[in-house]
Amino acid sequence: MSNIISIENLVKRFGEKIAVDHFSLHVEEGEILGLLGPNGSGKTTTINCLLSLLQYDKGDIQIFGKPMSPDAYDIKSKIGVVMQNIAIVDTLNVYENVDFFCGLYINDKKTRQQYVEEALEFTGLTEYKKYKPKKLSGGLLRRLNIACGIAHKPKLVLFDEPTVAVDPQSRNAILEGIRKMNREGTTVIYTSHYMEEVEELCSRIVIMDHGKNVANGTAAELKASLKNRETIRIGIPNLSDDIIHQVKEINHVYEAVRDEDNLLIRCDGGEHNLVHILSFLSDSNIPFGHVSTEQPTLNDVFLAITGKELRD
């Protein structure tokens, strides 16, 4: 696998504020890389620098092995961009919009026609091709936004929050479309606030905070890096401090706290934690009701690393 994107020590300042702070990133061919970060973490600034829309103070950006610059047309011709906000022409219909943006990359009329039809098919917009954008629902508009960004069959596509305000059906269609593109060889950089999407879609995840690359790995690797590997919730009617104290003594339990009539137990790893805890309760003749366990989510990882919820 070769490096499609190579960012080394990128620094971007806005006056006194450092938006991107010695950020490095490598994206390999065929990856779907999830770029996560709270608002103001430097994701969009990094992407703008990557696309040469923004001049940066320091660092090196290479795409497809060549330095990226505003007039690196050979590189730009292989990149597709799907913006967070809808970037289309209101007065052109669906077909014309896709044809217009595709035409900025593809000169040959026949090839372009074929690509436009395929993009419409891909995004499920064929039956709407004569519609003006104002006649489309939010979900269909998002799909049009995507069609405009990918019609020229780029080798690298940057998706910036493509599923915001999209109905579940359109969201599934979009995610499935991205998977299909990836299967056909397209490398994808994907930013989203939806953890479950990122977890489901991305082969690797990079978490940005304060302009830095603070975590990097697969979803499983990131979760494994957490101290809290399993959370067990048990309903105990006569929960006493003594019971809580005794539970804390069990192997791999690093925290046990009261949550109303429930006992919340956090374990830092190990196997069969639930069996050990339930055995202890039975052996001690402590009555208990419902039992549930939770695996850590990407949001827990995010919270642990950045101290913030992603949707904050």
Partner: protein, 379 residues
């Protein structure tokens, strides 16, 4: 790529409701209002420039008298600007003014030329302009009087026919000064092209819109794309002007005093002026909110000073800040229409056309320099 961008920009613009409203319908509404307001006065022509009776009182000989004598002669191109009456004392001139025998008089003493008129208006503006024009030539005239006194009279006559007052006003011609409103309206419509450009540029610059961001991510050459958009804008604006001219001439039945081809040629040049001005503004401005406000203010201000609301404003500007009339695209364009309709294709007409072309070239060069320096979008 140029052709495709041109076609799509043209389609996108022509389907924009705001453009149809402001650039096509609004001028028609204004033209109708002008026609209702003073359409029937155009034939009556009550304030057209006509020969004025002017008194002259001098304590000593002056070349100014030669200038006045030149202006008091009719030529093939115009009627006499003034009927000159000489008086041996200011008292007699004052009496003549009181008796309405003259519209005003000049008094020359050793220090200056003093102008007296019965009331402010066209007469005062014209008489003051004559003095101003004379003063512009005074040094040259004095030099000729010293070096080549034998040529003095012919030189003064030559200068007399070159005075601004002669160029600016149609003495004795049949075209009504009310037509100035329609010329200013055509000017305004042409300059409305400026926000077509800023709108087009908005979709091509990453710091102005998401569409612009997508556009700048594409591998196309930015200048080609902007040129294609500008060409689409000029075509639409020229069509808007053509609709307006045809409406004025055929529906409102107002004779603009020019053949249709020439009007369309001038208004197409005006459209190019508006479009390139908008491109310059779009290159200069960074806040999308200013992309409508600035071109609109520009179009309205230029049109105002070319006589859209008050026809005589151009004469006042000519008197107090004549340079402004030479750099105001609106004044230059309306002036070219006025001169062409009253005098034909004179040197002054070609001068106006040249100024318009120069302004267009300056806009293009400045826009190119600014956009080239802005390699990065600076979002």
């Amino acid at each position: 790529m140029f052709g495709r961008i041109f076609i799509y920009k043209f389609k996108a613009l022509i389907r924009s409701h705001w453009l149809i409203g402001w650039n096509f319908l609004f001028p028609l509404v204004l033209a109708t209002a002008f026609s209702l307001g003073f359409g029937n006065l155009i034939d009556d022509d009550p304030i057209s420039f006509h020969t004025m009776d002017v008194g002259y009182v001098a304590e000593e000989d002056s070349t100014f008298l030669t200038v006045l004598e030149t202006l008091s002669k009719s030529t093939d191109e115009r009627e006499a600007v003034i009927n000159l009456h000489t008086y041996n004392s200011e008292k007699n001139a004052k009496q003549a003014l009181a008796d309405k025998e003259i519209d005003g008089y000049y008094l020359l003493d050793s220090e200056d030329i003093h102008t007296t008129v019965s009331e402010n208006g066209i007469v005062s503006t014209t008489l003051l302009q004559i003095v101003k024009d004379y003063k512009n030539f005074q040094t040259t005239i004095k030099n000729i009087a010293i070096d080549h006194p034998e040529n003095l009279e012919s030189a003064v006559e030559l200068m007399g026919s070159d005075l601004e007052i002669i160029k600016q006003h149609s003495f004795g011609h049949s075209n009504s000064p009310y037509l100035q409103y329609f010329y200013a309206l055509l000017t305004m419509t042409s300059l409305f092209g400026s926000w077509i450009s800023t709108f087009t540029l908005q979709g091509m610059c990453a710091n102005m819109s998401e569409r612009g961001k997508r556009f700048e991510c594409a591998p196309g050459h930015k200048f080609k794309a902007i040129a294609a958009g500008a060409l689409a804008g000029i075509l639409i604006q020229s069509a808007s002007n053509a609709v307006l001219v045809i409406y004025i001439v055929t529906v409102l039945k107002i004779d603009l005093g020019l053949n249709l081809g020439l009007i369309l040629l001038i208004t197409t040049l005006g459209s190019a002026l508006g479009i390139t001005a908008g491109t310059f503004m779009g290159a200069l401005l960074k806040k999308p909110v200013l992309l409508v406000a600035v071109p609109m203010t520009y179009a309205m201000l230029c049109s105002f000073f070319s006589g859209l609301m008050v026809a005589s404003i151009k004469q006042y500007v000519q008197y107090y800040v004549p340079f402004l009339n030479k750099i105001n695209p609106g004044a230059v364009m309306s002036d070219s229409l006025y001169i062409a309709s009253n005098y034909g294709l004179t040197r002054e007409f070609y001068q106006d056309i040249t100024i318009m072309i120069v302004i267009i070239i300056i806009h293009i060069i400045l826009s190119g320099v600014i956009l080239r320096r802005r390699n990065y979008a600076s979002i």
